[in-house]
Amino acid sequence: MGTPALAAAPGPDRVKELTHFVRQECGFCHGLQLTGGLGSSLTSAALRDKPSEALIAATLYGLPGTAMPGWAPFLSVDDATWIVNTLKKGFPQ
């Protein structure tokens, strides 16, 4: 499936924080419904065929030449892995 194994999946409290984080902070550029804005769409349809490793790297370290910043100061590798896997499945409200 190409889903990277989780070394340590975030606990329920962290999952709640991350869900809010994605909806709100990522939502500024990618839209609250994650359908895209200045940033690209993050719906499962849009991400399904993209390699998870690249998406995780973009989440943590940004995409040079674009407006996408790296979030590594605030997200662990496990956090980013959870976010990418969850986005690919369709992000919960």
Partner: protein
Amino acid sequence: MSTSAKGLAAYHGPTPPCKRPALGASFLDKTAKGLATGTLTAIKHGVAMLCLCAVPALAAASSVPAIMPTGDLGLVVERASGSLLQVNTSRHAILRRIEGLGDLSHASLVFSRDERYAFVFGRDGGLTKIDMLSGAIVKRVIQSGNSIGGAISQDGRIVAAANYTPGGVKFFDADSLELLAEVPTDSKVVGLEDSTDNRFAFSLWENARGEGEIWVADLSENPRAPRISKFPNIGKQPYDALISPDGRWYVAGLFGEKGVAVLDMWHLERGVKRALPDYGKTDPKLPVYKMPHLETWAMVGNLAFIPGVGRHEVVIVDVSTWQQVGAIPVAGQPVFVIARPDGRHLWVNFAFPHYDTVQVIDVEARQIVKTLQPGKAVLHMEFTPRGEAVWLSVRDANRVEIYDTRTQSKRTELPAQAPSGIFFTPRAHRFGL
């Protein structure tokens, strides 16, 4: 609690009927607690607040519909629930919740010149016309797949919407929301601003060649056939723009490189010029967690105070020379830098992760005079028309806070669901707002 809710309903009873109940049962349920809290807060702060209690008596005493002037009204966007709160800035009151506006993340709105109607631009491409008197949705069209904002013409007859997907600008009749004209682009459109002579300026984030552009649409002769002036290759990734308060200078901030692009709306033939060669994102190690907003660059005399991009500073620009003349260190990456209407103070909010903080800068001293911590995610700030108060939306705390700008202390707070933009009706009379 039920008295408050009932009172609110009674107050609005006499207003004209609206298609959707502005005060549905769900609203009453959801806000009854909040209203009670608001009342208590008002008492605690000794504010002569508007009287969630006195209003019902007034309404009950007379069956004549209350006259509701609109000059001290406003709308607060509730971004997650697709609703708006209508507020009164004299009485620090919530009047009603208006629901059913779709995806309001990053929503903005403009007001008609008579301050009766609001035009709301939703992220989902929805354009909704709201009657400020009744709270009713007068008209709603889905005009694109993905929208970023809009503007209204100098004569008030044309509403313009800027779109990401498909990229372009659409122009609508302000009365009917009939589509008048469409200007397609091969790029997301940002920084749509209204200017003099029924012209609009906007920027193309990135065209097919990866370049930014500025376009001016002139609707003065025929709103159905805008004349377009294009200024290609103005720099990389213009992310937002502003129009100066006199409608003359259109300034686009560039994300992909340093500097800003400046267009003199009096002299389009002079073309777009670059200014502020040192301004902008300089260090790849300073990621920008939220795009700064330029729409309301604070102007005080000849000086403009603008958010540093990716830097923890407010940049001071002399607009008579377009030179940077200083910088004020602040708590984080500024998002909005807004001047109190008299220009004496600047209020600044910040991007993640410093978005729980607001700082007040004394313009004369160029120093921070107050640091406030209203709570997580202060997304927007709006001054009352003469600036005795400023309203802050505090998203995660689900409230709007109202500050006295003289003492910079909180006067009261009002409950709101994940509030973002705050818009007061006097914007109707200003360019670029």
